[in-house]
């Protein structure tokens, strides 16, 4: 059975407003065609209900480093997870000098993988940087985790498809883009990262908490000067992160 419901057309079909004198009044039979329209509309809304996870002015000036060793020099002091290795997630410490963290928002796992199992929607990222000349091979990172700790970016804790990077050599204002596509099944109710969030006040005669999986998105950068000790000022001026199909 598919995850998303079936639709008849790729848009909402307009229907008359609810009215006791309309086509759904008591004495009228409910025809299959009307129910097909309602269901198709519902299925189309499911597809279009992808979310903007972040749109923000950036944090502004970001940190560059004199040498590659400096990028990871403070890792142990700052409690960050990188052990100086060559894996993508280990190239930066994912602290505020080298990354920003977005979220949490609750996971909606309604994307169908090839094997029919549900997983996260595809996440797209656009980061508006301003990188001056004077950096050697700038590199940018994108990741998503189901926990606020960057330790979950390591090879054991990360979900496949949710850590990526791109070497983008431009200077000046530039839009760096990334896409994260999870390839592991996610079921909200049974996932080990599922949490209970309070969802309503006492007194509504309904469940007070709901099971959710929190989703965090990360955007990182690695800027090493090409002419140390000069470290030119670099900027992350804007951030956009959204879900797509």
């Amino acid at each position: 059975m598919p995850i998303l419901s079936e639709r008849a057309v790729t848009r909402v079909i307009k229907i008359p407003p609810a009215s006791s004198s309309g086509p759904l009044a008591d004495t009228w039979p409910l025809d299959a065609g009307s129910v097909i329209i309602l269901r198709s509309n519902s299925a189309h809304v499911e597809r279009e209900a992808v979310r903007q996870l972040c749109v923000s002015m950036g944090p502004g000036e970001i940190t560059g480093f004199e040498t590659a060793a400096d990028v990871t020099a403070d890792l142990r002091a700052s409690g960050s997870p990188s052990p100086f290795s060559a894996e993508t997630w280990q190239e930066i410490p994912w602290d505020r000098r080298t990354a920003i963290r977005l979220g949490p928002v609750h996971v909606i796992a309604d994307r169908e993988m090839d094997d029919g199992l549900p997983t996260l929607r595809t996440i797209k990222i656009l980061a508006d940087f301003n990188i001056p000349t004077g950096y050697s091979s700038p590199k940018y990172y994108f990741a998503a985790t189901l926990d606020p700790s960057p330790f979950r970016l390591n090879g054991l804790g990360s979900l496949p498809g949710l850590v990526g990077s791109t070497a983008f050599g431009g200077t000046g204002q530039q839009q760096v883009t990334g896409t994260l596509t999870c390839t592991a099944p996610i079921r909200v109710q049974s996932h080990p990262d599922s949490r209970q969030w309070t969802c309503r006040p006492v007194g509504d005669d309904a469940a007070l908490s709901v099971a959710v999986i929190p989703l965090y998105v990360w955007i990182g950068w690695r800027l090493v000067s090409s002419s140390p000790p000069t470290v030119p000022a670099a900027y992350l001026n804007g951030v956009s992160v959204w879900e797509t199909r």
Partner: protein, 355 residues
């Protein structure tokens, strides 16, 4: 009987609704489950924004919020900037609803009473977070309210670094007990033996209720896009001094481009219409005009200009804006510019596009 809110769509197919086939109770139950999913699980983030270091030891950022009907609570995370120099410092964060105290349901009440120590540089990843669950059940759905994020700190602390707010989905809905406030349709009504009546929009059952709830799933799903300044005061708001359209002075070193995905409910030829809202301040006799430059990816830009008549007080102005769905993957690039009508300094604390 409450309706459990599914975490996945029903996956219903249309072939079992062929004309001539028997209509069974299961079709009605599928309707109830779909409505619970659409209206109580597909809820939205409200804001995720980064703020530059504030000036002056305290500031109040304004976040626009229009409650999706049915949503009862917000999950709020606030992080502050690391301290400067040696030694620890503290900060407090108070979140209010348009200046009135909020009700907190869980975790840490962000009521300004908890002073947290702030880590010093270099900034580790595990910075102090203020996390609270705010009761928003009393907010009028369909009306935009400003949530106030007030910060104050000791001398070495420089304000809020990041705000994240998202609506919390529901585990179940209870339209039988509270049909006017709870979304959805009674799950028991379609069972065999119950009368297939039209009902009314304000009761929990019937075809009219189902139709009305579908309509509300289309029109009352609040998608928020917003850009937030670090405070609504002369030191921390964004400024506009140019008398011709130019980048708003936000503290960034150039005018960034933002990308969003427009929602094509009625096909890609019908734009995603939202409310363009700006909170600003201009002196009397001066008009502040904020321009949204909307460009479908691969297409041509369209300008939408929102004029705010100066009164000497902070206030919000609104107008309608279209996000075209004709871009590649329905994606749209957005940039902002602004101008004042004559030499003056106007200020902006929040820009939002809310569906």
């Amino acid at each position: 009987m409450n309706v459990p809110v599914p975490t996945l769509p029903t996956g219903a197919v249309l072939s079992d609704l062929a004309v001539g086939n028997t209509v069974s109770a299961s079709h009605g139950k599928t309707l109830a489950q779909e409505l619970a999913y659409l209206r109580a699980h597909l809820v939205e983030p409200v804001v995720c924004c980064f703020l530059k270091k504030a000036s002056g030891g305290s500031a109040t950022a304004k976040v626009a919020y229009n409650r999706t009907p049915g949503v009862q609570a917000l999950y709020i995370v606030v992080e502050v900037h690391e301290s400067v120099g040696d030694g620890a410092s503290y900060a407090t964060v108070e979140v209010t609803v348009a200046g009135s105290p909020a009700t907190w349901l869980a975790l840490t009440p962000l009521d300004g009473t908890t002073a947290a120590l702030v880590a010093v540089e270099p900034p580790a990843w595990d910075q102090q977070q203020y996390v609270g669950v705010m009761d928003v059940s009393g907010l009028t759905a369909g009306t935009t309210t400003d949530l106030h994020f007030a910060w104050s700190g000791s001398v070495k602390q420089e304000g809020i670094y990041r705000i994240s707010v998202c609506e919390i989905p529901l585990a179940d809905v209870n339209p039988v007990t509270s049909p006017t406030t709870e979304p959805g349709l009674s799950l028991a009504w379609p069972s065999a033996g119950n009368a297939l009546v039209d009902g009314t929009t304000s009761t929990s059952l019937g075809f009219l209720r189902a139709l009305d709830q579908y309509s509300k799933a289309l029109t009352q799903h609040r998608r928020h896009l917003q850009w937030v300044a670090r405070g609504e005061d002369n030191s921390n708001a964004w400024t506009v001094t140019s008398t011709t359209f130019a980048a708003i002075v936000t503290g960034q070193n150039d005018n960034p481009t933002f990308r969003v995905r427009a929602c094509a409910l009625y096909g890609t030829s019908v734009p995603d219409t939202r409310t363009f809202r700006v909170r600003g301040l201009a002196t009397g006799g001066i008009t502040l005009t904020v321009r949204a430059i909307v460009t479908p990816v691969g297409g041509s830009p369209t300008n939408t200009d929102l004029a705010i008549a100066g009164s000497g007080s902070w206030g919000a102005s609104t107008m309608s804006i279209d996000l075209p769905c004709t871009g590649t993957d329905q994606e749209v690039d957005i940039q902002f510019q602004a101008k004042v009508s004559s030499a003056s300094t106007a200020r902006i604390s929040n820009i939002s596009l809310i569906e």
